[in-house]
């Protein structure tokens, strides 16, 4: 599996970057979430190797940092594929065929929700509401949100990513 992985993560450099992030933000009240967001923005996920650095910098225990990371769906501790597709699974999208769309997507990508394709092209994640509830089914591909996504439209989007089968 080829995953997008920052080459510095498992060396000391990843931790130095995490340390820089922490030292720049630790004066913020309740700094942990902003720090974790920044780390994930830079690495694409929160490398477990950065946890001790974050904990030490914010004067927290590693368990506390781990507890926060694992509480929030948004934070990931593993790298994703080159593209991330977030599929809305909530009621307003269910009412317009999100369950059928999910079946189509998992079949097309040959993975379950939460997994990454073997090629490392796409990670498929669930999301519970993108706030586009009048124009579902909705999904997000990397930074872009799409509405009224039919199976055909999904295939076209996948094709545009160059990640088709």
């Amino acid at each position: 599996m080829q995953l997008q992985q920052d080459k510095n993560v498992n060396t000391g450099d990843g931790c130095r970057t995490a340390a820089e992030i922490v030292s720049g933000m630790k004066q913020l009240p309740g700094a942990l979430l902003p720090v974790l967001h920044r780390v994930q923005e830079i690495f694409g996920y929160i490398p477990p190797a950065t946890v001790p650095t974050i904990a030490e910098g914010l004067n927290l225990s590693r368990a506390e940092v781990h507890g926060v990371i694992s509480f929030y769906h948004h934070f990931r501790t593993e790298p994703t594929g080159r593209h991330v597709i977030q599929l809305c699974r909530a009621e307003a999208c269910q009412a317009v065929g999100a369950r059928q769309l999910e079946k189509h997507i998992t079949t097309a990508l040959d993975i379950a929700v939460g997994d990454t394709t073997e090629s490392g092209d796409v990670t498929l994640l669930p999301v519970y509401c993108l706030g586009n509830c009048a124009c579902g089914p909705s999904l997000q591909v990397d930074e872009e949100i799409y509405g009224r996504v039919t199976p055909e439209r999904f295939d076209a989007l996948l094709n545009d990513l160059g990640a088709g089968q």
């Binding site: 309740g30 942990l32 979430l33």
Partner: protein, 512 residues
């Protein structure tokens, strides 16, 4: 020079508004037409998005839904002067869906560039703050109290009473927290307001700060709203630069700082005490009340925590006066309620009306029935913790008390329409599944109850000891409703019970 408006709102962009804007600029250049494209907010007529508007001598003329491929034909039809075209919708203000609304919170939405402070001020913006600067904290709280405003996040607690408590509680530091963690499926009013009229929220929060003596505010925004985040941050920077925020607001000597904090995909953080823990950098665990956040809130300090619409409304109340707001609505539900019409509906969007309209008027007159063309079977009101209403309840007036009286809730005003292909046992199962996924885990009825709820509904659906399991499901719902610490576990039984009670046939045929 001709001005053409193309919304930059999430829903408009999800349907191709960016491509339309690009095509308009390119096509205008190709034809040598002097066109300025303004990225406005959305009017909330989402079924018409991307809806573009052109400014003509007769007012603004709308076209929609426009795709980038339509752009050359629109130029051919002389749309820049309001020319006829199959996508022409006539004057924007005359579109029935919009004309029949009572826009108070959303009066400015979609009119101008959401980031233009000049546009905001030209449309009555910051008049509320001007008035507030001439008042004492108690006088501001009194205005909010008299207006009858109740929390728009869902719980509908009287805002004035909450503020009075914070004002009366001594504290070296107080906070204003805006709950912008709009996680209910079927809701988008907060997002629309933040993307279309961000200064209204900023103004409302500043007034709240003056009212209770808080110098720091936070907007806790869900991470699923990246466009709202970008817009809010730019609007905050402008408000600071122009002296509307900071240590000396409009040279009054009054101080209020405001920043956005981003959530991380936890539905439970829409619950106010969980949100406060999250803002403090912790797991979003629900706190036991008392102490109320008004007494011991963020970092243990007295805190006003209100929804986006609640805080934004304060700017209107201070501008137009408490009586203006109080005069709208019915019973104890005063003012207007922005209803969000979503799911399987032909004309989905935002409908702001005074309290009192019926659900049927909304889904039939405004919504035009289902998008699929099939009959409506169930309507879920109030998000994932709201009941599924069958046909005989669609004549209920939209009013907090009327909904509560039948075991439903208006909540944040999300209305999700389902057609007759819906399997209500699957929806009931989802309610439990969602609760299991999103429970903070602090109290047992919610943490374990939701997991057991999924199992019990699976047994019913699989026809395993169905009658016994239906009784068990009711008992489980009792336990969750009566024993949970917050609305997550306490109200998950609403959609479950309503599905079982009003759509029993879906629990009798084995689905799998």
């Amino acid at each position: 020079m001709i001005r053409v408006y193309v919304p930059r709102d999430t829903a408009a962009c999800a349907l191709g508004a960016d491509a339309v804007a690009t095509s308009l600029v390119a096509e205008a250049a190709r034809r040598g037409a002097d066109v300025e494209v303004v990225r406005n907010g959305s009017r909330g007529l989402f079924w018409l998005e991307p809806m573009i508007e052109v400014e003509t001598v007769d007012g603004r003329i709308a076209y929609g839904p426009v795709s980038s491929g339509d752009v050359p034909a629109l130029f051919d039809a002389d749309f820049t002067h309001g020319g006829e075209h199959p996508l022409a919708l006539g004057k924007t203000n005359a579109i029935e869906y919009l004309k029949n609304q009572l826009r108070v919170n959303f009066a400015r939405a979609g009119v101008g560039d959401p980031l233009s402070l000049t546009d905001y001020k030209n449309q009555h913006g910051y008049r509320g703050l001007q008035r507030a600067l001439e008042m004492s904290g108690q006088e501001i709280v009194q205005q909010v109290m008299v207006s009858g405003l109740r929390g728009r996040g869902g719980a509908a607690f009287p805002t004035g009473i909450k503020w009075q408590t914070v004002l009366d509680t001594p504290g070296d530091q107080k906070y204003i927290v805006c709950n912008a963690d709009e996680g209910d499926s079927g809701t988008f009013a907060d997002r629309l307001l933040m993307e279309a009229d961000p200064y209204q929220l900023i103004e409302g929060m500043t007034i709240a700060g003056l009212a209770v003596g808080a110098t720091q505010g936070y907007i806790y925004l869900r991470s699923e709203y990246p466009k709202a985040l970008a817009i809010l941050n730019q609007a905050l920077a402008t408000a600071y630069a122009d002296g509307y925020l900071g240590p000396n607001i409009l040279a009054s000597g009054k101080h209020f700082d405001l920043e956005v904090r981003v959530g991380a995909g936890a539905y439970i953080c829409g619950e106010e005490t969980s949100l406060l823990d999250s803002l403090e950098g912790k797991r979003g665990m629900v706190r036991a009340k008392p102490p109320l956040p008004a007494v011991k809130g963020l970092f243990g300090k007295p805190t006003v925590i209100n929804n986006v619409l609640t805080l934004a409304t304060v700017a209107v109340i201070l501008e137009k006066g408490a009586a203006f707001y109080q005069d709208l609505g019915i019973g104890r539900s005063r003012g207007t309620m922005p209803i969000q019409l979503a799911g399987n509906v032909k004309r989905g969007g935002l409908i702001e009306l005074a309290f009192g309209a019926t659900l049927r008027q909304l889904v039939e007159d405004y919504g035009g029935g289902t998008a699929s063309g099939r009959p409506i079977r169930a309507i879920q009101v109030g998000g994932p913790l709201g009941a599924y209403l069958p046909q005989h309840q669609w004549d209920l007036p939209l009013d907090y008390e009327a909904f509560a009286a039948v075991g439903a809730m208006l909540g944040h005003g999300g209305v999700v329409v389902f057609d007759d292909t819906v399997d209500m046992s699957e929806q009931a199962r989802f309610a439990m599944e969602f609760c299991a996924l999103e429970s903070c885990g602090k109290c047992t009825p919610c943490r374990i109850g939701a997991v057991r709820g999924v199992e019990v509904i699976d047994n019913i659906r699989a026809n395993r000891q169905r009658d016994e399991n239906l009784i068990l499901l009711h008992e489980l719902c009792d336990t969750m409703e009566l024993g949970s610490l917050c609305a997550m576990g306490g109200m998950t039984p609403f959609p479950v019970r309503s599905a079982v009670q009003f759509f029993p046939e879906d629990f009798k045929t084995a689905a799998g």
